[in-house]
Symmetry: C2
């Protein structure tokens, strides 16, 4: 009898695992339970769907369910919710099609994702208060916009999603306000980079920092009124974009250990403390490239990659997970903004480093080449070892891929002086002779010496 690999959750990590397990072991019995109706979708595309840059919500589905079922011979069950994991019996309890049943597994992957953090303020449950996490959320928001033509929007949270949604709603002609509790936007980025983003955003939307939403009320009409500090802001819609937290309830109840970040703890193969039970994606921890410690980085590539590695392992080819530098990029109106590693001195200090950082700016093209843009590069190093430990970049061009050079340097534990010596590409349309990264490394080297 063939072995069975059961996957709970059919998005990035889960479907990557199922697909890779199939390629690794053609005889494996593979079952995926997904409680919703969508699988394998690009949640990162949701702001662009809301914006209208992506036509149909179905465009965000990377691979159709039939393909998994027919071509990859994966027993994919949507609208099936796993309500319990029974590790001692090696089964899961599943509700679907109005029935409850118990299904055995040889190996199990918990890839149940994360949920939006919903600030507990009065009025958060009102109709026109949205989150943006799954495809149905996206459809609901765009449907609302198309139907009601809202004029004013409030966005609670100044992180990736908050900023991408600000751009999306601004494109619809709305008067947009961002309300962020911390003193700056994009806190995992260096403050110098956050400042550039704030100043750019402020030309288009209202940015309220260090402000906590205290309540949301319905006005006389259909509008909402959002209170924070001394302000009362009228708004036709509110987007809650205050980050996500891992879905760990099901795992905890089964006796699966959580790690220091609050997500599911795993070893280098993605194994939990329970035998033959793995976890990956937005519900699980990863190992940070720079610190070597557990970290929580709910990003798409991590989920895809870790799912794929666990699929290999489940199929009989043990494969270690990759370490994660937390490399990320976002488009913020006209800006590209990117980060990797420990990009903020405070975070580096907390992780036990003695951080030194610099920020420089440089042109994105040779000075004489038409239309150069300004790039700001911020680097963080450890004073004692001279190791590069993180970086952030912002600019109108040439940012989204430059961060990958830093991520690669982090993966090989380069010192700032190693970075300074890299043979990077040069041509006048694409940068100055000394790439901004090299210039930043030179300046930081000077400060370390």
């Amino acid at each position: 009898m063939s072995k069975r690999f059961v996957v709970i959750g059919g998005d990035a990590a889960g479907m990557s695992a199922a697909s890779k397990a199939r390629r690794t072991d053609p005889d494996l019995d593979i079952v995926v339970f997904e409680r919703g109706r969508w699988v394998s979708y690009g949640a990162c595309g949701l702001p662009y769907y809301v914006k209208g840059a992506v036509g149909e919500i179905e465009d965000l589905v990377a691979i159709r369910p039939e393909k998994f079922i027919e071509e990859r011979e994966i027993d994919l069950r949507t609208r099936h919710e796993v309500t319990e994991i029974r590790p001692e019996r090696k089964t899961v309890k599943v509700n679907g099609n109005g029935q409850e049943k118990e299904v055995g597994f040889d190996k199990l992957l918990v890839s149940v994702g994360a949920s939006p953090v919903f600030p507990e303020v009065p009025g958060a449950e009102l109709d026109r208060v949205f989150t943006l996490h799954g495809l149905d959320h996206g459809k609901k928001i765009r449907g609302f916009i198309e139907e009601k033509s809202p004029e004013k929007a409030a966005i609670v949270g100044g992180g990736y999603i908050g900023i991408e949604m600000a751009e999306a709603l601004y494109e619809w002609g709305m008067d947009v306000s961002i309300i962020e509790g911390l003193p700056r936007l994009l806190t995992p980025f260096h403050p110098d980079v956050s400042d550039v983003v704030e100043s750019h955003l402020s030309e288009r939307v209202r940015v309220n920092l260090h402000e906590f939403v205290e309540g949301i009320e319905r006005t006389g009409g259909e509008r909402l009124e959002v209170s924070f500090g001394d302000a009362r802001l009228e708004s036709d819609m509110v987007i809650m974009a205050a980050g996500v937290r891992p879905n760990v309830g099901l795992a905890e109840e089964a006796g699966i250990d959580l790690g220091p970040t609050g997500a599911i703890a795993t070893d280098e193969y993605g194994r939990t403390n329970l035998p033959d039970v793995f976890a990956a994606g937005d519900c699980a921890e990863v190992t940070n490239t720079v610190t070597g410690e557990a970290d929580y980085v709910p990003l798409a590539l991590t989920a895809n990659r870790d799912g794929r590695a666990i699929g290999s392992t489940a199929g009989g080819d043990p494969t270690e997970l990759a370490e994660i530098a937390g490399t990320a990029v976002l488009k913020a109106f006209e800006l590209e903004v990117a980060r990797t590693g420990l990009a903020v001195e405070g975070d580096a200090r907390e992780a036990g480093f003695d951080p030194v950082s610099i920020t420089i700016n440089a042109p994105s093209r040779a000075g004489y080449y038409p239309d150069p843009k300004r790039i700001d590069v911020s680097l963080v190093a450890d004073e004692e070892s001279g190791l590069l430990i993180g970086g952030s970049l912002v600019g109108r061009e040439g940012v989204s891929k430059r961060i990958d050079t830093l991520a690669t340097a982090l993966a090989s534990s380069m010192t700032v002086s190693d970075l300074e010596r890299l043979d990077l590409a040069y041509a006048p349309p694409f940068g100055p002779t000394w790439d901004p990264l090299l210039t930043a490394a030179k300046v930081l080297s000077g400060k370390l010496a």
Copy 2:
């Protein structure tokens, strides 16, 4: 009495060395002899000056001579030609201002650059046959175009300069023909990448491969006639862009050893075989990152960086030169084209590797994001060690910086499997979840396994 550092040649390597030596040792006596009238200029900008995208030739001068003289206290002598190096006396003989004199040195840097290869064909000396190497060449070509409004141009050579000049002359509305002796364009790039460039160029200019120019004649009027194979091509101007060779005459006469590439051999500090005599820039060899062997890579960053390191050393702070991966990028009309390391299987085999290569294509943005462009990624690895040894990329966006990730991977001797595990940035406007580099690494891993 203070020590004297003499520099022969006042462009990238020479002026970088002089400036860095000044910062390192404020008391050093620093003399630079430059035989021409220009110093510290961006030769890489010449095609864009010819194109008209850069207004004045002076815009290409990075730092004015007065600044070196007044602010940096460098005794810069333009129009001074060193005619002899006398190592036993530690002097150089110099002609300038109509006088010849002999100047002593404690340390000497030979940074005399390279000269264009001029194919020895009948008619190559004719008036309307140009090369593009120094600023005066650039002025002459643009002056000619502005005055004579040429309609047809022939470019001999399908490398970096040939292609950049094809774009420049096409912008002036000319009917442009490239004539390349080898069977493909851009021979240091993977053939799959050359093919993409050839097909793109062929939509705008005539590309003649595997053809050698046999002669250039004047027609009855002012036009030239270029013969190759069975063809006779009428042309108003001819650009010779057949590469460069290092200027080594002065060094050879002084007993300085050349290396296997024909350029000046140096050690890890840029020292030649003669005591206290250094060489850097387009006249000198470098050490290749991948092979660890001598290589000839006449590019701007190499010259700047090696000059700077030698300036440090001359100033009393011994600094090793960086190794060079031969990373390069160029704009070819709408395309970005880039390479690093041993990007061609044949070159890798010659260097003693057992190369395996793949080429994949992938979109430059998430599939659902508007207007994705195609990127072709070609990687070369060594079969036995699994080491990445080179790569080439081509596409309409997202190429110029992606190559730097590969260059960084080469600098840390990553395997293909290390590359596959990199935590690169992802957001829908900037790439698919699995970056094209990661996809290429996955495919190459599969071929290596």
